[in-house]
């Protein structure tokens, strides 16, 4: 068996920077994971579709635009509609505490604040991905 953790790193929304997402993507790769990077301006539909086709264990979404309260509910709903709620969703970016709470209620596993060390993200994923049979 040659199992690898597969992570989809996506940058939804309209703002044009993906530096943070790329840093995280590289850190996950360097930790031995297979990172599928989909680039900027991804819609909830394309994120969920990619996650399904790539059979990822984790979706890591990074966003700055403050659009999280409209994007995340869609992502979570689409995962459910596609019988894919078992895929873990994490989120990074500038997100107020009150919203972070709402995201967790929606089923997001973890919200990483700005400046979270990449090691912490790597460890969280390694420790929380369920081994699949």
């Amino acid at each position: 068996m040659d199992r690898k953790i597969r992570v989809l790193v996506a940058k939804p929304g309209l703002d044009g920077h993906d530096r943070g997402a790329k840093v995280v993507a590289r850190a996950l790769r360097d930790a031995g994971m297979e990172v599928i990077y989909t680039g900027l301006h991804q819609s909830p539909e394309s994120i969920v579709e990619a996650a399904i086709q790539e059979d990822v264990d984790v979706i890591g979404l990074s966003l700055l635009s403050g659009a999280h309260m409209t994007l995340f509910p869609d992502v979570m709903r689409l995962l459910k509609e596609n019988d894919a709620e078992d895929i873990m969703v994490t989120c990074g970016g500038i997100i107020p505490d009150s919203d972070a709470k709402k995201l967790l209620d929606l089923g997001v596993s973890k919200v990483f604040g700005p400046g979270t060390p990449t090691d912490e993200i790597v460890d969280y994923i390694k420790n929380n991905v369920e081994p699949r049979e």
Binding site: K4, T38, G39
Partner: protein
């Protein structure tokens, strides 16, 4: 067993999650995967498998995106497998081909899968072949396999295709070596992408000259086409060439030969893997190390050592 049958039923009925899961199992060398692949086999053999290879950054993913769109316009469903290198040091991989595949990302009749080359010792072609078979059984009409044209294993992946498209860019320069190293012989269609950059005519001419010197005559003269994948220019011609190549294979009977050659290579690769695997089982790893020691002490030569290592299955 029951869950496996269930998974297979779902794959054959077009369930995308099941397709994706079976691909993961196949890639991981999961015990159930082999059984599943065996049951899948009778449902394969219908797709046109197209390999797309060329140097990094030549625009392969962009081209694949546009080709897929064109095949969709022709009413064909499309599967895509994009292989990128795995870091030999960390085992991780950054798979970024989807960035260029936005035109088709939401089309339910397109299935895109990214794949890391992992540490498959020469078995990469066989793993890729498994994913291709899954998409084939899933009912995809055309399967595009993107690989970076660098090493021998990529060349072998391409050999699993019916039609191979070589993507180059203007100003071949250093690539001439790579072309000499066997790319030229395996190309059925040549594409000079980034024709907007200038110098494409010259590159096309160089390729043409090199093809003239190709000693193998199969009755198919590979066309050399120019594209600007980024702006959708010349794509129709590439699709036409790919389709004509398949027509040619069918008309001449070469298709059967090609498939036969492919199945033979794949079978040999599988046998080789399993022979090595079974020799490494039964605590024989120590035996291997001992033999290496003997070679290093000049007590044994490598051929004799190999004979001894093979003894358990002789």
């Amino acid at each position: 067993m029951d869950s496996l049958t269930n998974l297979l039923t779902r794959v054959l009925s077009g369930d995308r999650r099941a397709v994706a899961r079976l691909m993961t199992m196949a890639e991981n060398g999961d015990a159930g995967a082999r059984e599943a692949m065996a049951k899948l086999h009778p449902h394969t053999g219908k797709a046109h498998i197209v390999g797309i290879t060329g140097p990094p950054g030549s625009g392969k993913s962009t081209l694949v995106d546009k080709l897929a769109l064109e095949f969709r316009r022709l009413g064909k469903s499309v599967g895509i497998i994009a292989v990128d290198p795995t870091s030999p040091f960390t085992g991780g991989a950054l798979l970024g081909d989807r960035i260029r595949m936005n035109a088709i990302a939401l089309d339910r009749n397109v299935f895109i899968r990214s794949m890391g080359s992992r540490g498959h010792l020469g078995g990469l072609a066989s793993k890729t072949g498994d994913l291709v078979r899954i998409l084939d059984a899933h009912g995809k009409d055309v399967i595009l396999v993107e690989t970076v044209g660098a090493g021998q294993s990529e060349v072998e992946i391409v050999r699993t295709a019916h039609t191979t498209v070589i993507v180059e860019v203007p100003g071949l320069g250093d690539d001439i070596q790579a072309i000499k190293a066997g790319i030229l012989e395996i190309g059925d269609v040549f594409v000079v992408n980034k024709a907007d950059l200038g110098g494409a005519d010259e590159t096309a001419r160089e390729l043409d000259t090199m093809l003239d010197m190709n000693p193998v005559d199969t009755g198919w003269r590979p066309p050399i086409l120019q594209t600007v994948a980024k702006s959708d220019t010349g794509i129709l011609e590439v699709v036409d060439a790919i389709t004509s190549h398949m027509d040619h294979l069918k008309e001449t009977g070469n298709l059967k030969d090609r498939v036969r050659e492919r199945e033979k290579t794949n079978l040999l690769e599988l046998v080789r893997d399993r022979v090595v695997d079974s020799l490494m089982e039964n605590d024989n790893e120590r035996g291997l190390e001992d033999l290496v020691d003997s070679i290093m002490k000049y007590e044994l030569d490598p051929h004799t050592a190999a004979e001894r290592f093979l003894k358990p299955i002789r």
